[in-house]
Every structure is written in C-alpha cells, then in structure tokens.
C-alpha cells in the first residue's frame, strides 16, 4: 500500500511538476548528504563489525563473553537516545563527522552479530584445509573464510543501510539533514505532502536500490557447509604483543558505544537542572507505550502467521511473491509508511485518522518482516511429518493446527511477538506522525523534551526506553547465534 501510494502520487502529480519538485538544489544537497552518510556508515560498520567479530571469535583475547555482551549492548540503546547522549554532553558533535561517529556506534552490532554467528558456525576444517594446502593463516582467512562470511556480512550491511535511510530522530538531533529529516520538516511545516511525498519517492528508490544491490551481490552460490557432523572449535589466533592494543581498542569502543550513553543518562538524571520526575506523566507514557506495543505485537504476529504458513507449507510463485512483498516493507522507512497512512486515511477514511487503529496498522506494515522471520524459522523447523502423524490419528486440519503446529512453534511466535513489541516501543517517526492527539509514548515524550533541549527532562524517558530494549537485545543475540 505505501509503495503504491508513492507511485500513484508521482503519476497523479504529473511528470513535469514531479520533476520540478525533485530537481532542486535543496534536493541535491539532501541527496549528497544521504549518500555520503550511508556509504560512510556502511563502510565503517563493516570494518568494525568484521574486525570485532574476528577478535572475539578467533583470537585468544581474554574475557570473551564479557566483550561479546558489551559489543552487542548498543543495540539496546535506540539511536536517537545515543545521539541525545552525545549532543547533550558536547554540542560540537554535529554535522557529517558527528553523524558518522554516533550512527556507526549505534549500528555496528547489526553487522557484528551475524558475522560472529557465521564465524562460529563455520567449520574450521575449511580453513585448516586451505592452510594445509600451503596458504598462510592470513591468506586462508581471506580466501576461504571471508567469502563464507559474505551472506552474513551483506545482510548486516544492508540492514545498516536501510536503518540509516529510515533514521530520523538521531540525525535530527545531530542536525545533519537527510531525506528522512527533510520529509518530516516539510510535512510539519506545510502539512501539505506534495514536496514531502516526492522526496519520499526518491528515498524509496534509494532503499530499493540497496535491496537490489544486496540480492545481486549475494548471488546464487552455495555457502552451506557440506557434510555431516558437528564442527569443531577453531584454534584461536595467539595475540601475543598486540594483546594490549587490542584490549585498549575494545575498551575505547565500548566506552564510546555504551559508556557515553550511560554516563549521559546518569549525568542528566542526577545533575540536570531540568530533571523532573513527573511520575504521573511517566506512568501514562509507559502505559500507552506498553499498550500500543502489546496490541501492535499481537496484530502483527497474527498477520505473520498465515503468510509464513503459506510460504513454508504451500510454496508456489504466488505465495513467494506475497512473502517477498512483505520483506519489501523492510526497505520502507517509517516516515514513508506514516506519510502514506496519513494521506490515504485522510482521503479515504478520515474517521480513522489519528486513531490508535491507524497507528497499529502502520506498525503492522513496518514490523511484519520481523515477526515473519521468527515465525517462518519456527515453521521450517516443525517437521511436516508431525502433521501427517496427527492426521493419521484422526485429527482434521484445524485440529492439527491447534493441537500440534501452533504449540510446536509457540516459542518462535513468542520471540517474533517480543521483537515486534520492542520495535514498536522504541519507534519514533511513525508514532510522532500518527499517534492520536493527547497520546504520548515514551519515545514521543522523550522527543519533545530533548528537541526543546530540556535534556534533564528527557533523561527518565530515555532510561525507560533503554530498559525496555534490553530483553529484545538479549533475545536477538540468542536468536542470531542459534540460527546459524
């Protein structure tokens, strides 16, 4: 629906006017900003992600589990909370350099996590074979291990790119204008979507471009390990003299990625002059956040069930198309989805505009892929033969679903719902644009305080946001490591 909206809008407005709206110096500037930030962050997160994964997974660095936990921890801090931490402590952290630093620190775990999981699942016998065939240890890594990491790496980097193109809060705070922030500003100032919608179109094109690039680069080669049996642990690389610099580097990174936000939160909670504890408002915001997130999670997961079931059990062209089209939603920034929902609801069903119903529908579109991934993985692991056995024991199709399939995949359904719950709880952009008047969530309350530079007042909301994100991070960590 959002995609169709952007397309029809472009057609309806007429090519001439569309061209005029798009080809402007302002748009050129935004494009340059968006592209250089995306490329910069993708490069930096790749280097950080692969490097850190290698250090933690393949060297004899001490306290591995501790480092692993700390390196994943930034996932629990929403990017806009992280920017708030940096900006509130040092006003000079703005512009390209600031944005590159802060956003990379927030997003590198998206690369690190799948690469670590992939490295862990890799059979060291491959590396050893290359080694025994005369390649040096480093050359073996480059010629055998890196190509194997490619799917995980590409997937992670794609996620970084898509997140970045959709990022609004963090970049707004860092005062680095991109397409997403410009759409919001245009929408906010004029309330007329013409310009906003056209820029949204360009943004969607960029996202689709990324998605296509990833598909293209991934190719069709087989990467799975051939053969049976469990892979052994790899023999770790002895760090020797580089041990101290490596430890220092890790400490520095963790300090910047986790230490700074924690310090900023504590600082503003204790010392902030504008710090106040409006318990009533905090409770109300928490209540509406939890309510919306829970309702949204249930709706989204319910939508994911039939799609996943069709995709796994009744594979065909149509079902694959349906499934793929929901993944397309991953490429749609929250702001575009929100814009589409605003415009379409105002024109078609004005009654639902600014109701929770519309907001939850937007959440469902945005986060369906997250639920789908979990539910699908669960269904794929639930053997069809269980259905056969249940049928032979006298159960009809509905009874099989109720007594066998659903109970068997219940953990995956739960994990999917939890992921969606937490994604909704920390969602900012669509919530800002679509939430009913008078409904404040933790994210929107935090946003109104921090964008007014009342850093202290924003702190309690930020803290609650971080606390709410911790379980999701743990869940994600486990899922990633188990899946491979």
């Amino acid at each position: 629906m959002p995609l169709g909206f952007v397309a029809t809008y472009t057609v309806a407005i007429g090519p001439a006017e569309a061209w005029e709206l798009v080809v402007r110096p302002r748009v050129g500037e935004l494009l340059w900003n968006t592209v250089r930030l995306t490329v910069g962050v993708m490069t930096l997160t790749t280097l950080l992600g692969v490097g850190l994964a290698f250090v933690v997974e393949r060297t004899d660095v001490p306290f591995k589990p501790l480092w692993h936990g700390l390196l994943v921890a930034p996932l629990a801090v929403p990017a806009f909370v992280n920017s708030y931490a940096w900006v509130s402590l040092d006003r000079s952290v703005t512009g390209y350099a600031g944005a590159l630093l802060v956003v990379s620190l927030s997003y590198y775990p998206l690369v690190y996590l799948p690469v670590v999981a992939s490295l862990r699942g890799l059979d060291p016998a491959l590396e050893e074979s290359a080694w025994s065939l005369g390649h040096s240890r480093w050359r073996s890594f480059g010629s055998v291990v890196l190509p194997q990491l490619r799917p995980a790496l590409l997937g992670g980097v794609l996620l970084v790119g898509l997140h970045l193109l959709a990022e609004f809060g963090a970049l707004q705070l860092l005062r680095f204008p991109t397409f997403t922030t410009a759409i919001y500003d245009l929408y906010g100032s004029t309330f007329n979507g013409a310009a906003a919608n056209m820029i949204a179109g360009v943004l969607v094109l960029l996202c689709l471009l990324l998605l296509l690039a990833e598909l293209r680069l991934r190719g069709h080669r087989r990467f799975a390990r051939v053969g049976q049996g469990a892979a052994r642990q790899a023999v770790p690389v002895h760090l020797a003299r580089s041990r101290t610099p490596v430890l220092l580097g890790l400490a520095l990174l963790v300090g910047a990625g986790v230490g700074v936000p924690i310090y900023a939160l504590v600082h503003w909670l204790w010392v902030g002059s504008s710090t106040e504890f409006p318990v009533g408002e905090l409770l109300a915001a928490t209540g509406s956040t939890v309510g919306l997130a829970a309702f949204g999670a249930v709706v989204t997961t319910l939508c994911a069930l039939p799609v996943a079931w069709l995709a796994v059990r009744h594979r065909g062209r149509l079902t694959t198309l349906i499934e793929r089209s929901t993944y397309l939603a991953t490429a749609l920034p929250g702001i575009v989805v929100a814009l589409a929902f605003v415009t379409v609801s105002l024109r078609v069903v004005p009654a639902v505009y600014q109701t929770s119903l519309l907001l939850v529908a937007a959440y469902a579109v945005l986060f369906l892929p997250r639920a789908l991934v979990s539910v699908r993985a669960g269904l794929e692991q639930a053997p069809v033969v269980l259905d056969d056995v249940a049928r032979s024991l006298g159960s009809g199709p509905l009874e099989v679903a109720r007594r066998v399939t659903l109970p068997v995949i219940a953990p995956s359904i739960g994990a999917g719902a939890a992921l969606v719950f937490l994604a909704i709880a920390t969602e900012l952009t669509a919530t800002l644009m679509l939430s009913p008047i008078g409904t404040d969530t933790l994210a929107t309350s935090f946003w109104s305080a921090s964008s007014d530079l009342r850093y202290g007042a924003a702190a309690p909301y930020a803290l609650l946001l971080v606390l709410i994100s911790v379980p999701a991070t743990v869940l994600l960590m486990r899922q990633e490591t188990l899946e491979r």
Binding site: L386, D388, V389, S392, L393, G394
Partner: protein, 355 residues
Amino acid sequence: MSRVELAEVVYAFGHGADAVRAVDGVDLVVPEGSFTAVLGPSGCGKTTLLRLVAGFLAPQAGTIRFDDAVVAGPGRVVPPQQRRVGYVPQEGALFPHLDVAANIGFGLPKQQRASAAGRDRVAEMLDLVELPREYAARSPHELSGGQQQRVALARALAPEPSVVLLDEPFSSLDASLRTTTGRAVAHALQATGTTAVMVTHDQDEALSLADQVAVMRLGHVIQTDAPRDLYRAPVDPEVGAFVGGATVVEARVEGDRATFAFGSAPLAAPAPDGEARVLLRPEQILVHRSEVGARVEQVHFYGHDAAVRLRLLPDGPALVARVPGLDAPEPGSEVGIGVTGPVVAYPTTSPTGVR
C-alpha cells in the same frame, strides 16, 4: 483390524511428459492380521505406496480397500483422519511439546484422553511395547532413538487402527538397537493381531520380521511371498540377489537336475530342458580342502561366519561361499568346491516373462 487390498494403483509425480510413475499399477493384498514388508531399493516407490494407503496422497488410478470399504478409488478419497491408520514414520516423529503419555493418548477420543480409561490405555500400550510405565511422564527428548520408536508404535496402536503403516521405522537406529527394537515392534503387532505394512530397504529386516514380503522395483510389485519362499525361489535372479547373497552361474537343465562347471544339483522347481542360469546362495556352496578346483581370492571375516570369494580354476567365474568363521581358508590357497541343496534355474532361451 482390516485386510488391505490395492488394485491397479497408479501414482505419478509431475505432469505430462515429465511425469514419473512412482507407483505404476500395483496389486497387493495384505491379509487381516498379517505383517507385510514392502522391500525395495531407494526410489522404487515404496514410500509413495505407503503414503497412498495412509491417505496423504490420492492415487490417480486404481482402488485401495480396507476390508470391503473403498478408501481411495474413482471419485472417492477418504481423508487420512477418517481412515483409522496408525502411521509410524522414520525417527518416530513424536510430538515434541507433549510428554510420552500425551503422545500415546493423542489419537484417543477427547473424553477418554483425560479419564482413567485413557490413562489405563496408555499404561497398557507402554507394557505392550515393553517400556516401563514411569516413562509416561517423560519428554520425547529424554528417550533414546529405540525408545522413541516404541512410543511411536504405542501411539499408533492406542486408538486400535485398521492397519499400522511403518515407514523405514528402524533405519535411523544403530545396528544392535535395530534388532531389539524390531523384535519388540513385531511382537507388539502380533500380540494385538494388527494388520501392518512396513516399508524398508533392508532385506534382513524384511525377512526376519514380516510374514509376507512384497518386493518392489521401479514402481511395480515384482513378487509377493512368505520370506522363506521368497528366499528359496525368487522370481528372477535380480530379486534373488536383492534378498540375499547370490551367485548366478551358467548351467544346463536336464530333467530334474541342473549341471554346471563344478557339479550338479536338483531343481527346486521344474524348469524346461536347455540352457539356463542357476542361482546359488553362499551357504549352498561348500568349501573343502580335499580336492582342488578354485582359488581363494578374498576372505571377509565376520566372526560367526566368513564370506569367501573364490575363482574357479583356471579362469572360471567368481563365486561367493559362506563358511563358519573359524573354518575360513587363507587367501591365495586352493580349495575344492561343491554344491548342496536344490537350486532355482532360469531358462536363458525363454525369459521368465516378468522381466
């Protein structure tokens, strides 16, 4: 318990020119209370056959009857949940979210499941498959592979099915467990008088457990017989070689005897005079030290017995003999050979008609 009858059953995968006839006009009668093994190499269509009987697939032609009721035939296909079949797949496929008792009770009527009668039935089934009653509270993952298979059989038997279908039930078990589990399963089926069809590629399993064996090849059932008859008189040399060790040699049939390069033997069944091939089982070939007639090429020692590969002197065909393990000759030595017992002859001039 029902008699199961398949007539002219056809099932093809794919459409048009690409269609592969996995089951190609199969006729098979499984008498009431019989344990029938469907034996064949992988890809012969035996699992498809089983799935047709279970109702997971519908035949494109032919009929399947349980007693007098047509469960699949022109214009009528009874869905699996109404056929009352007990299905035991490879590796058991126990429901992972249910304990042993709930697995076994799964197919019982709803009001019976929670009642004392249901619990009694579960205990009875555990006794039947020779598992301790305390296992009722265990989770499937706490059981060994063999125990899981026993629970899977108990689950299939609990609702008193018309027929139990076993799909390579022991193939994932290791050798020693395979034998004991197989015996326990055969015993439970016999004790309840259940009609059962087991699909397997393992001839030892088929011959030792079943009372009737149907050999399948390329979608056809080639021969259906009692294990003893199948082993003694296979319908052609290929079936003979599939159900056990076999050496095929050129021979000449005259009257009720066949004569070949190293002796002669009475015929197990009448055959026309003339050129023929005879099938010799390894245990029919005798090795003795008194005369010289063959050279020992290889010896495979299994302990209880040994397979001795011989070459007829000076450059005759290769033969395989089975001798008690400790009596095996040394490789390279020269020995005398003879043949005991009746043999089956297949005329080379007029083929048997089946092939």
